[in-house]
């Protein structure tokens, strides 16, 4: 009960998500009237995954004050890990089937070679790189979804936090990390098919008889469930003393040190935990997207993540969810060619080109004039007010809460 008192938005969120899930289900091709196309169900499912990774971003930035511009790298890695199994297992089924008609039953090494040729032919190879050694095992790859991004975050975070890199330098470092990872994956000999990435991920192995109508709604449910769990975990993390300590780190980390808390330990914990959350989001996202390639991990993706959280309102979990959902859906609308062009006579505004400009402008405007973001609209209902501090932020650190973001 105390938990709900501290998170009044929790029941509202749970109810909202449940209703949304039901509505989508009963409007889907698979279980309902079919008013929503399967591809749109996929878009909605992916949006839930983006909301999930936005919660992770809000924990690390909005609550702990670490402006990480690399969390999409963890998201992408999660996608790669699950993608390897999906591609391997499905290719194996196809290969085995096609060899079944041969006179002699194929040896295991023939099967393996044939799978290798199928998967790595595009990069001119047929050998299985070392990183694929567990790709045959679903459970191993599921474990790697958590382990690989988790370890990368631990190592990176340990190095960065231990040297007390903070503020804009840390942001640059995280951008460098995601850039390096993306450039590495672009290489053909990275073992993950270079710029081709992994594809065909929407086809679940052994589910050829099941239409995408059903698969899409199952993934939608899984995404909604994962989002719910992430929301609950995030609410738990920020509501108790741990929340106090990380908000303290955001506003004034030196003071937290003198209270005897290991600031580095807490940052590392949050960084790695949110990396794992992001990875799980990615593992659910890319089977719905069908393809993952290194461009997904480009530095700009992680910057978008920060933009979503800022537009939604950082430092409140539902703000992150709303920001990610709103911006990514609007972005789909504008970049998908659905938005009508605006003829100005001398020039025609094509939204596909101008959407990014609009997004950038919105970001600047929100930052300057509505720092609470969309989440601030709820304060009108709840009559939550900001303190009057003459423009002073609540602490000396870069990530500290600004006057307008704070609650009186």
């Amino acid at each position: 009960m105390d938990f709900i008192r501290k998170n009044p938005s929790l029941p509202v969120f749970i109810a909202g998500l449940a209703i949304f899930t039901l509505v989508v289900t009963f409007m889907s091709e698979a279980y309902g009237a079919g008013a929503l196309s399967t591809s749109f169900v996929k878009t909605l499912g992916k949006t839930l995954c983006l909301a999930l990774v936005a919660i992770a971003m809000d924990l690390v930035w909005g609550y702990t004050g670490i402006l990480s511009l690399g969390h999409f790298a963890f998201f992408g890695l999660g996608g790669y890990m699950i993608g390897m199994w999906l591609m391997y297992a499905r290719t194996k089924l196809i290969v085995v089937e096609s060899m079944a008609s041969a006179a002699l039953p194929p040896t295991p090494s023939e099967i393996s070679d044939a799978i290798g040729t199928q998967i790595f032919g595009v990069v001119g190879s047929s050998e299985f790189p070392l990183v694929w050694m567990f790709a045959h095992s679903f459970w191993a790859q599921i474990a790697l979804v958590v382990i690989v991004p988790g370890i990368l975050a631990l190592v990176f975070g340990w190095l960065a936090f231990r040297s007390r890199v903070t503020g804009v330098y840390l942001s640059i470092l995280t951008q460098a990390m995601t850039l390096a990872l993306s450039l590495y994956l672009f290489q053909n000999d990275s073992g993950l098919r270079g710029n081709n990435g992994l594809s065909g991920l929407q086809n679940l192995p052994g589910a050829d008889g099941i239409s995408q109508d059903y698969i899409s709604i199952w993934f939608f449910w899984a995404s909604a469930f994962a989002l719910l769990i992430t929301y609950l975990i995030a609410a738990f993390v920020v509501s108790g003393k741990f929340g106090s300590v990380i908000r303290g780190i955001r506003d004034d980390e030196a003071r937290v040190r003198f209270l005897g808390y290991s600031v580095e330990g807490f940052k590392l914990f949050v960084f790695a935990m949110t990396a794992v959350m992001a990875a799980i989001g990615g593992a659910l996202y890319y089977p719905q997207a069908g393809i993952i390639n290194p461009a997904e991990i480009a530095p700009i993706a992680s910057i978008y993540l920060a933009v979503w959280v800022a537009i939604g309102g950082r430092g409140r979990i539902y703000g992150a969810v709303i920001g990610a959902a709103f911006v990514s859906l609007v972005s789909t609308y504008f970049t998908g060619g659905q938005a009508p062009d605006i003829p100005l006579g001398f020039y025609t505004i094509k939204w596909v080109d101008w959407w990014l400009v609009l997004l950038g402008l919105s970001f600047v405007l929100v930052t300057l004039f509505a720092p609470k973001g969309i989440g601030g609209l709820f304060d009108l209902i709840t009559h939550r007010m900001s303190p009057k501090r003459g423009g002073a932020p609540l602490g000396p650190d870069d990530g500290s809460l600004r006057e307008q973001e704070a609650e009186k």
Binding site: V237, G240, K241, F242, S244, V245, R247, G248, D251, D252, A254, R255, R257, F258, L259, G260, Y261, S262, V263, G265, F266, F269, P387, R389, L394, G395, L401, A406, E407, K408
Partner: protein, 250 residues
């Protein structure tokens, strides 16, 4: 010099240089386990820097800082470890977590396991609530527990910070100019809190205001240009000619 049972903190021969400027110059200092000590000295004498060194914020160029019965050298330990070893610090400007309530501020400071996992699953028990309430009563903030600490008056913030120090249950309290910006009534309350605290632990108070120091009724160390100029009772040091020259006779 060897430390014995009656020394809690022994600072010997520390020096620190900032950009060629010697802020602390071969400073030595000792304090016992339940002692109240005032440090006075003109602006820039190195009082805050001295605290920075003891609490691990600044690394001295040379010298030793020995702590406790085991005479552990604190130099090289990080701030959090030193704080956990039992040294609490109050900053010159009040620094509390302004976005959090008085209760949250105090609860964060109450002595409990500081490990991230333990903190994550920590839920305050009856004894933690009792401790917070007891502290709040001591610093006169019992009615303010649910208020955001950013809304408190300057004096109340100072007390809250002292309360957070006491909550840590440190063996040594370093208090930097606690009375700055306080009204006369607030100052008296502050002296009472500090004197009470010094009954069970060591307290070092840096202060400018002579009246405040006189009310503390304790041994005084005069700092000047990074080293000790004189030490003794307030009357003793105020009669010292060097002290009069550099500090009192301005």
């Amino acid at each position: 010099m060897t430390s014995n049972a009656s020394t809690l903190l022994e600072v010997s021969g520390i020096s620190v240089t900032f950009d060629g400027f010697k802020a602390i110059n071969n400073l030595s200092f000792e304090i016992g386990p339940a002692e109240l000590r005032a440090i006075i000295g003109p602006n820039g004498a190195g009082k805050t820097t001295f605290m920075d060194i003891v609490t691990g914020k600044t690394k001295p160029d040379e010298g030793k800082v020995l702590w406790g019965d085991l005479s552990r050298n604190l130099i090289g330990m990080n701030e959090a470890k030193i704080a956990r070893a039992g040294i609490g610090r109050k900053f010159q400007r009040p620094t509390v977590f302004e976005d959090q309530t008085v209760f949250e501020n105090l609860l964060m400071a109450v002595k409990n396991d500081r490990n991230p996992i333990a903190v994550l699953f920590f839920r305050p028990k009856a004894k933690d609530f009792a401790k917070v309430e007891e502290l709040a009563a001591e610093i006169g903030l019992s009615d303010q527990l649910e208020r955001k600490s950013g809304e408190l008056s300057h004096g109340q913030k100072q007390w809250l910070e002292i309360g957070m120090l006491l909550a840590q249950d440190p063996k040594l309290l370093l208090v930097d100019e606690p009375a700055a910006g306080m009204t006369l009534g607030e100052r008296e309350h502050t002296t009472d809190i500090l004197k009470e605290a010094a009954k069970t632990r060591a307290v070092v108070v840096v202060e400018h205001d002579m009246e405040f120091v006189r009310r503390l009724e304790c041994k005084v160390t005069v700092l000047h240009e990074g080293s000790v100029l004189a030490e003794g009772s307030l009357d003793h040091v105020t009669q010292n000619q060097d002290v009069i020259d550099v500090y009192l006779g301005r």
